[in-house]
């Protein structure tokens, strides 16, 4: 099954046997997400819908945002946004668009996780320790488990990695190299190996030249630098250049919101950051950003409202700080029910479905005894659509 917390293809049989910090934290947090919240109220569902509908009808400016992880909820949220002529941008939009913007400017050569696991013999992991904080089992996931696959993988860690990170890659059975360098300079370093200060540089260049297939991995959420999209664009250009003579591709790890981006793209033509006008989506990735929308709420005339959807089990409720910061924007909050994460029920042996195997986005429910029929996030949104 797929880990719903980091979205990797862990495929472990039991959650309790997995030494993954992210899962452990998430499992502890599940308890408080068992109930459905709407308008932060304990009122009867019909009453809640009535008051939420009234609030939305009175609002001239509406933002639909949050952490949407399933196709069904994405469909319902987009339908509601269209009906209300609302703005839509999801929580992970800021990270996702670090990758999307350079792709829309120049394109990309990319490889999926399974392909990289099976085929790549050289992994260049770019970033710092936060790569493994976000995806703790990545080294195991990228180690081919096929005994007939005798290709020995080499990992080149490029950036700011601790001894501990290096050891974890080594423990996964990979030949590990580490070249410390400033994150900002990595695209240039890749383009000009002479800037890399290492006595093993010539060995490394030889390894790169011999590589059958190089996968370059970065995690957008760990790139906390200005203009990260331009940094990624340079990395993508380097990858494109490599393909003139050999094979190389970027392994762009997706987040749980990948399913929202996919569904939003096929329903509206755009991966997010849209506003509906007379039912038609307008795309502007530099304008329709949830944080900008909230910041400018005070300057707008007319009522504003937020529909906040959270299907994750994150410890940190999304937008909590922003909404409570005195902006006084009414917020309708729709949280996850257990229906989203049957595999997150500790010890439960359940089967999950992959939405897209190549990106391993989200697990969907097969059976979930705790699910309250008609009370999923999508169900609530559908009721608001009526």
């Amino acid at each position: 099954m797929i880990c719903p917390f980091c979205s990797l293809l862990c495929d472990e049989d039991s959650f309790q046997s997995v030494p993954c910090g992210i899962r452990a934290n998430a499992l502890n947090a599940i308890e408080r997400f068992q109930k459905t919240k709407l308008a932060s109220s304990e009122k009867a569902p019909q009453e809640q819908i009535k008051s939420a509908t009234k609030l939305l009808q009175a609002a001239e400016h509406i933002l639909i945002t949050g952490r949407i992880a399933s196709v069904q909820t994405a469909r319902s949220a987009i339908r509601l946004a269209k009906r209300l002529n609302a703005t839509m941008d999801c929580a992970e939009g800021g990270h996702a668009f670090k990758n999307i913007l350079p792709i829309q400017r120049n394109g990309v050569h990319s490889v999926s996780l399974g392909e990289a696991r099976d085929h790549a013999d050289l992994l260049i992991v770019v970033g710092d320790d936060s790569v493994l904080s976000g995806y703790p089992r990545l080294p195991q996931m990228l180690r081919s488990s096929d005994p007939s696959n005798r290709v020995k993988k080499t990992v080149l860690l490029l950036g700011d990695f601790s001894e501990s990170s290096q050891q974890r890659w080594q423990q996964a059975g990979m030949d590990t190299w580490f070249i410390p360098c400033k994150l900002e300079s990595i695209p240039a370093a890749l383009a000009q190996w002479s800037k890399v200060e290492t006595p093993s540089r010539s060995d490394l260049m030889g390894r790169l030249a011999q590589s059958r297939y190089t996968a370059v991995l970065w995690v957008a959420s760990s790139l906390r630098m200005p203009k990260a999209d331009l940094w990624i664009e340079r990395l993508m250009q380097w990858i494109a250049g490599q393909n003139e003579t050999t094979r190389c591709a970027g392994l762009v790890l997706s987040s749980l919101e990948g399913s929202f981006q996919q569904a939003c793209t096929w329903l509206t033509g755009f991966p997010g950051r849209i506003r509906f006008q007379e039912g038609e989506p307008i795309y502007d990735p530099s304008l329709y950003i949830y944080s900008k929308w909230i910041e400018s709420a005070g300057a707008r005339t007319g009522n504003s409202a937020i529909v906040l959807i959270d299907e994750t089990v994150s410890e940190h409720p999304f937008l909590e700080n922003q909404v409570e910061a005195g902006l006084a924007i009414p917020c309708i909050e729709i949280s996850a029910t257990s229906s989203m994460f049957p595999c997150a029920i500790a010890g439960a042996e359940v089967t999950a479905d992959m939405f897209r195997a190549d990106q391993a986005i989200v697990a969907r429910v097969d059976s979930q005894p705790e699910c309250i029929p008609g009370h999923s996030a999508a169900d609530w949104l559908e009721k608001l659509c009526r």
Binding site: M1, I2, L9, D11, V71, R75, I100, I103, Q104, R105, N106, G107, V108, H109, S110, V111, S112, G114, E115, R117, D118, H119, M141, S145, D146, P147, R212, Y213, N243, T246, R247, A249, Q262, A263, T265, W266, L267, T268, G269, F270, P271, E280, P281, I282, Y283, D284, L287, T351, A352, D353, M354, F355, R356, A357, D358
Partner: protein, 560 residues
């Protein structure tokens, strides 16, 4: 009591019976016998009757090759927001030359627009021809959001690394048959598609070309072996639609040799060659590109087991999207706008997405336009040549009415031909092909033929018992105007489109093929999958209840 609708006094054409002015009775979801007089018929007295004098009645159109769902369609949307007409950053699309029909808002519109615009032309079923197994759930979810159309998918298999390894090892054909059946069932598809057999995978090993008898650099097998093995499996497990093949050497000058070798590779078994226009080029001519349409057409005419769809090109902006990473990559410098996406996916396939602008005044583009039309006109049997643009690769599907006019009118065709590059006009044999398609032939190539090719016994004609997916056009001397805008469209006997208005959304079905599965294969794959891909087969299997209205399953061809 099911709704009864009587369509009266229309010219009825279905390619089966005689084309004549008569009535068609729609009773509930099916067409019913209309053998009694209107005055004495109790059913008719309760029927809603439409006097359709001056109209044409045909069954709903079927597009057997159009990219409407799955990974690369969405990748193309992601890549090209500026080509969406209402986006803030949009650029003006180059005007399309389809005067009777408004252009799409984008070369790859969203699902709602796709469904609406297909219905607006009278199409009621469409098939996504490249479902990557790893993306099958996505593809079905996307097609479920495409309203008014029944949908189905062809599963990509010709570059599946497990399959290639088994062929290398020389496993028994029965094992491959069982594997294909298992994959079709697990991913809920209705046919098997091969794209550049072995070539997508070879490109992952930095092999830049692979002809039908070349060895894959890693697996040491040839595309010929892959094609033969899969064509055999498709027949053995009883799939109605033959192996659906995108040949080696897409778009390469001289690729007719590969195409003919592909036909030979399956040794007389049933075969469908898709977007054939992109696969029948010679090496002669002013720029080393020439038409080899007559060679392919001759082979089709003499091979009853062979069918093709065209993938006709039209001039204007579009986007090409293909699983053929190898050849899409080789065309990267032709991209307009200058950007492209290449993906390598899950040991199964890949994709390349390149925006493209076809121009009247460009020699090769003009030549390709003539080659597609040559194929249409040279293949004699309209039941074995199908109207496609390989949407969006050759053109958007909204080009169909225009293409129909090109096929039905020699003068109109020549009018467009005269605007082409002078060297195309000087070398093309198109002016010598004076054939004009009849209405019956158009109906066969867009309705009855695709239905038979896929194995849809319940549609494609106006025979009692067939599905009441019926289209009414106002007859017009200009077929482009006629086919661009039906007067009415019925789905399952329900009026869903009338005079430019989309009415209630109607039922949708997902079309899959029934196949028999071997338990032993299930257990074997369970082990292999976990070992090779790292996850369980349960994770990828798509259950019946997940699909949108799975109520139309294609029976195995051999069991009928």
């Amino acid at each position: 009591m099911p709704m009864t609708i009587r369509l009266e006094n229309a010219l009825c054409v279905d390619g089966v019976g005689k084309s004549e002015i008569r009535n068609v009775l729609l009773q509930g979801p099916n067409i019913a016998e209309d053998s009694v007089s209107l005055a004495s018929d109790k059913v008719a007295s309760r029927a809603v009757c439409y006097d359709l004098s001056g109209c044409l009645v045909v069954s709903g159109g079927i597009d057997l090759h159009t990219h409407i769902g799955g990974g690369k369609v969405n990748v193309a949307r992601l890549l090209l927001p500026e080509l969406v007409q209402n986006s803030r950053s949009s650029t003006q699309l180059v005007a399309e030359r389809h005067e009777a029909i408004a252009p799409l808002s984008s070369p790859v519109p969203g699902t709602l627009e796709t469904g609406r615009r297909y219905l607006q032309m009278g199409y009621t079923a469409c098939f996504e021809p490249a479902v990557l197994p790893a993306n099958a759930r996505h593809a079905h979810a996307e097609m479920a959001d495409t309203p008014w159309l029944d949908t189905g998918g062809y599963l990509l298999m010709g570059n599946d690394r497990l399959l290639l390894d088994w062929i290398r090892c020389g496993v028994p054909q029965q094992q491959i048959n069982d594997y294909v059946a298992w994959m079709i069932r697990a991913h809920q598809c209705c046919a098997v598609k091969v794209v550049n057999a072995g070539g997508i995978d070879a490109f992952k090993f930095n092999q830049r070309s692979l002809d039908v008898d070349d060895l894959h650099i890693h697996f040491q097998i040839t595309p010929r072996q892959i094609l033969k093995s899969l064509a055999t499996a498709v027949e053995a497990i009883g799939l109605s639609h033959p192996l659906h093949v995108h040949c080696s050497n897409l778009g390469v000058a001289g690729n007719i040799a590969s195409t003919l070798a592909t036909i030979d590779a399956v040794e007389g078994r049933r075969l469908h060659l898709t977007h054939a226009q992109f696969h029948c080029y010679g090496k002669d001519g002013p720029h080393g590109y020439s038409s080899a349409a007559s060679l392919l057409a001759d082979r089709v005419n003499s091979s009853p087991n062979l069918s093709i769809d065209i993938g006709q090109l039209q001039f204007g902006q579009t986007v090409t999207l293909s699983g053929d990473t190898m050849h899409q990559y080789s065309n990267r410098k032709l991209a307009r706008p200058r950007k492209a996406i290449f993906q390598e996916l899950e040991c199964q396939a890949g994709c390349g997405v390149l925006p493209f602008r076809y121009r009247h005044d460009q020699y090769v583009h003009g030549l390709l336009w003539t080659i597609g039309l040559e194929l249409f006109l040279r293949v004699q049997d309209p039941m074995r040549v199908f109207l496609t643009t390989d949407h969006p690769n050759g053109a958007p599907f909204t080009a169909y009415p225009h293409l129909i006019r090109l096929l039905m009118s020699y003068d109109y065709r020549m009018g467009v031909f005269e605007r082409l590059h002078p060297e195309v006009r000087a070398t093309s044999s198109l002016p010598s092909l004076r054939r004009e398609y009849t209405l019956e032939e158009i109906v066969k190539m867009t309705r009855l033929g695709p239905a038979k090719a896929i194995g849809l016994a319940d549609r494609g004609d106006l025979v009692p018992g067939s599905l009441a997916d019926v289209v009414v056009y106002e007859r017009n001397d200009n077929p482009e105007a006629m086919f661009a805008n039906p007067k009415m469209v019925f789905r399952r006997g329900e009026l869903v489109y009338q005079d430019g208005k989309w009415l209630a959304p109607s039922v949708k079905s997902t079309i899959v093929s029934k196949v028999e599965l071997e338990d032993a294969m299930d257990a074997r794959l369970r082990r292999i999958w976990r070992s090779q891909y790292g996850y369980s087969t349960d994770t990828i299997r798509i259950r019946d209840e997940e699909l949108m209205a799975l109520d139309r399953q294609i029976e195995p061809a051999l069991l009928r």
